[in-house]
């Protein structure tokens, strides 16, 4: 080093120079060194106390026995315990009276929303708008196949629709009219049904269809096509179609029938969860 400059404490420069600016090679404070050693000791201790070193099948467990999975289980258990009281209240309360209890209703709505997103959104959609092309009903509107009171909704959630697992499941079966009626009669029926909501295109077919409708369909759907929630028969006179309201879709529905199913949830959800999700769905705008 050519530069032998020394400051008053006897330290030279590092030999680096930038535009005439040099750097004294002053010593580090000794406590910095200690701190550095302490961090090393801490680091080694950490890998002993916590899971760290990868081995063949799994990492070392650590002396403290910590694991994120166990922590999650603890958190879930803590949450379950924290909610145990209000869950019990929800499971036993009279459903019609829940709206008088603001705290319980708020809890049911939040809890029901998370149950809905976990178990129901696969078919009904995360926004509960259903999928018309697949016949998953929209739960936001005011049309209900099996009734839209909280009690009716929770029954549907509990037992499901047209499933073999639950003897109390909602059940209705529309015959496949392709084997009963001629193609012409089906075309007439379709046009008559469309006329109920003011969408008919062929007046001649409508007139002929009325007789076919009254003979074959009115038993379930009613003389005026208003449907019947006790049989799960859809209202044909409103603006809402479960599968679609055009000639082609309706012809297919009448010819082959439809058979939408929903699993029963009584086995997989707790009483409080069933009630919570029923209250949530009821509060989405269509509840009766």
């Amino acid at each position: 080093m050519s530069n032998q400059k020394k400051n008053e404490d006897g330290y030279g420069t590092t030999g680096h120079e930038w535009d005439g600016i040099e750097e004294w090679n002053n010593p580090l404070p000794r406590w910095w060194l200690w701190t550095f050693y302490l961090t090393i000791i801490w680091g080694v201790g950490y890998t002993i106390a916590y899971p760290a070193w990868p081995l063949i099948s799994q990492a070392t467990g650590g002396l403290l026995g910590y694991s994120t999975r166990a922590e999650l289980a603890e958190d879930l258990e803590a949450a379950r315990l924290a909610n145990a009281g209000i869950d019990e209240r929800l499971a036993t309360v009279d459903l019609a009276a829940v709206s008088d209890d603001a705290e319980l209703l708020q809890y049911a709505n939040s809890m029901g929303a998370s149950v809905f997103r976990t178990y129901c959104s696969q078919c009904h959609g995360s926004g509960a708008a259903g999928v018309q092309a697949a016949g998953y009903p929209n739960l936001l509107d005011d049309a209900w196949l099996w009734g839209g009171t909280v009690d009716e909704i929770q029954y549907t959630v509990r037992h499901g629709i047209r499933n073999e697992d639950d003897p109390d499941a909602r059940w209705s079966e529309m015959p496949a009219f392709g084997e009963i009626l001629t193609e012409e009669e089906i075309a007439q029926t379709v046009n008559y049904v469309m006329s109920l909501s003011g969408n008919a295109t062929d007046p001649a077919l409508v007139e002929a269809g009325e007789t076919v409708y009254l003979d074959n369909c009115a038993a379930c759907h009613g003389d005026e096509g208003l449907g019947d929630i006790y049989q799960g028969a859809p209202n044909l006179a409103d603006a809402i179609w479960l599968y679609g309201g055009d000639v082609e879709t309706l012809t297919e529905t009448v010819t082959y029938s439809r058979f939408g199913v929903m699993p029963p949830w009584s086995e997989r959800l707790s009483e409080a969860e069933i009630r919570g999700v029923a209250l949530y769905v009821h509060g989405l705008g269509g509840g009766e």
């Binding site: 032998q4 404070p29 926004g127 509107d141 005011d142 603006a239 809402i240």
Partner: protein
């Protein structure tokens, strides 16, 4: 390569510093600032401020769990965090302002590290005696009963101050009397004890042992402030042109004319940073001005004018060497740069005050539900859903009415209510699902989007505000 025999150690131990007691106007000022700032810090959480039933009555409270910040008559909600950002901007600009005008005045008088170190040194002096006594105690080899007693007394007092410091900190985050009782009865949350333990430890360590090491090695401010100072910035300096050559200086011939400095080392002995101000401006100097007090005292005694060490700007040196009288402090302080910082600082401050006064007691946000964009009802009408968050900042419950304006065909409905109004509990936010229905064949029902304005009105108060959004119709498909 440098000579091995002269290679200094790579690591240096801290040089212990034993500041001597000093009195004077700057020392008095520092005592006042110490008592005022620490007094505020320790007492503030205990001041009560009645806000009504069920709402914290602590004047200053950072309620993290409840997501509220209470400051006397002001209450800050999470969505108003810009107030805190504004205060931080003001704090930053304030530091710039004070630095460009008065140099490291923050470091010297107001920095917690300085204030607590000052307090710790005062305790140390009270227990162990002044500089010379402490030096003797430090140099004493081996421990006897007296040294042990003094050391243990000092450390105990330091720890108690540290404990009070950490304790006061946690009181800002919870109801102080309740937390105090819980702390004593060992009922408080572990976080409270951990926070207190950490702050007690750091206060003890930083105030008692690390002291100027924090300023020299840990704090970025001494580096940043160099960029903000200029030749007009006030700083503590030694009038070398008046003081040199010093008495006792070996380089001075017998009988030669002497400077005012008698090399009594008073300025060095009182310095908490352990430097000699006569070496000129230094990184370590926090401009605490204690050397000014010490030197003025000596100048008085030897009958020389005060101000051998004084607050001055770098430009003064040239002027005074040329024989001009010293410029007044104020002429250094009032210059464009300082005025600009003051203006910026004031603008932010005024904007915050303005924002504080125009805050409405009725506030709400509208989040249109877009999953799905609209719902067809059985009679063919179109319904849109909006999640409205109604904020009642009052400490009393209020009823708020929601109305819609825009197209005459709109009908508004509140989920779970047959009315247009809803009761919002005090000091809280209510999430209300609101439906707007447009009948079949109406403009909004058939159009793609139509504009819509929500009005929310606090009944009985007259406060109201609006929010614009849109209504989606069938035309969107």
């Amino acid at each position: 390569m440098s000579d091995q025999s002269t290679t200094p150690s790579l690591y240096a131990a801290r040089e212990p510093i034993f500041p001597r007691r000093v009195s004077g106007k700057f020392r008095s000022l520092k005592w006042v600032i110490l008592f005022v700032t620490l007094g505020i810090y320790y007492a503030l959480p205990w001041i009560r401020w009645d806000r009504g039933p069920g709402i914290p009555d602590q004047a200053v409270l950072l309620d993290l769990a409840g997501r509220r910040f209470y400051f006397f008559w002001i209450e800050i909600w999470p969505h108003e965090f810009y107030f805190v950002a504004g205060l931080l901007v003001m704090a930053g600009l304030g530091l710039f302002l004070f630095t460009s005008a008065l140099g490291r005045v923050w470091c010297g008088y107001a920095c917690p590290q300085t204030v607590w170190t000052d307090l710790y040194i005062a305790v140390e002096r009270w227990v162990e005696g002044d500089r010379n006594a402490r030096l003797r105690l430090h140099r004493q080899k081996g421990w006897d009963l007296r040294k042990a007693r003094l050391r243990i007394t000092k450390w105990t007092l330091w720890l108690l101050i540290g404990l009070a410091t950490g304790g006061a900190w946690v009181f800002y985050f919870a109801d102080a009397p309740t937390l105090f009782r819980d702390l004593i009865t060992l009922q408080a949350h572990p976080v409270a004890y951990t926070t207190m333990a950490i702050l007690t430890g750091t206060t003890f360590l930083f105030g008692g042992f690390a002291r100027e090491q924090i300023c020299n090695y840990a704090c970025p401010w001494p580096r940043i402030q160099a960029a903000m100072m200029d030749e007009h910035t006030l700083t503590v300096a030694y009038r070398s042109w008046r003081g040199e050559p010093r008495k006792h200086s070996e380089e001075v011939d017998e009988g030669a004319e002497m400077g005012d400095c008698i090399d009594c080392m008073a300025c060095v002995n009182v310095c908490p940073a352990g430097i000699d101000i006569r070496d000129g401006q230094q990184l370590e100097c926090i401009t605490c001005a204690l050397c000014i007090d010490a030197c003025d005292d000596v100048m008085e005694k030897i009958g020389k004018p005060r101000g051998l060490i004084d607050y001055m700007a770098l430009t003064d040196e040239d002027a005074e060497r040329a024989g001009n009288p010293p410029r007044s402090v104020w002429s250094h302080v009032f210059r464009p740069r300082v005025i600009l910082y003051t203006a910026l600082w004031s603008v932010v401050g005024l904007a915050l005050v303005f924002a504080l006064f125009i805050r409405s007691d009725v506030e709400f946000t509208v989040a249109p539900v877009r999953n799905p964009t609209f719902v067809t009802l059985s009679d063919g009408s179109i319904r849109n859903t909006y999640d409205i968050r109604l904020r009642n900042k009052d400490f009393e419950g209020r009823t708020m009415r929601v109305t819609v304006h825009g197209d005459p065909s709109y009908r508004v409905q509140l989920e779970g209510s047959a009315y247009e109004s809803v009761a919002v509990p005090p000091n809280s936010t209510l999430l209300q699902r609101v439906y707007v229905v447009a009948p079949r064949g109406s403009g909004p029902a058939e159009a793609d989007t139509t504009s819509l304005r929500f009005w929310v009105e606090g009944l009985g108060g007259g406060d109201r505000s609006y929010h614009d959004t849109t209504f989606n119709g069938r035309g969107a498909q």
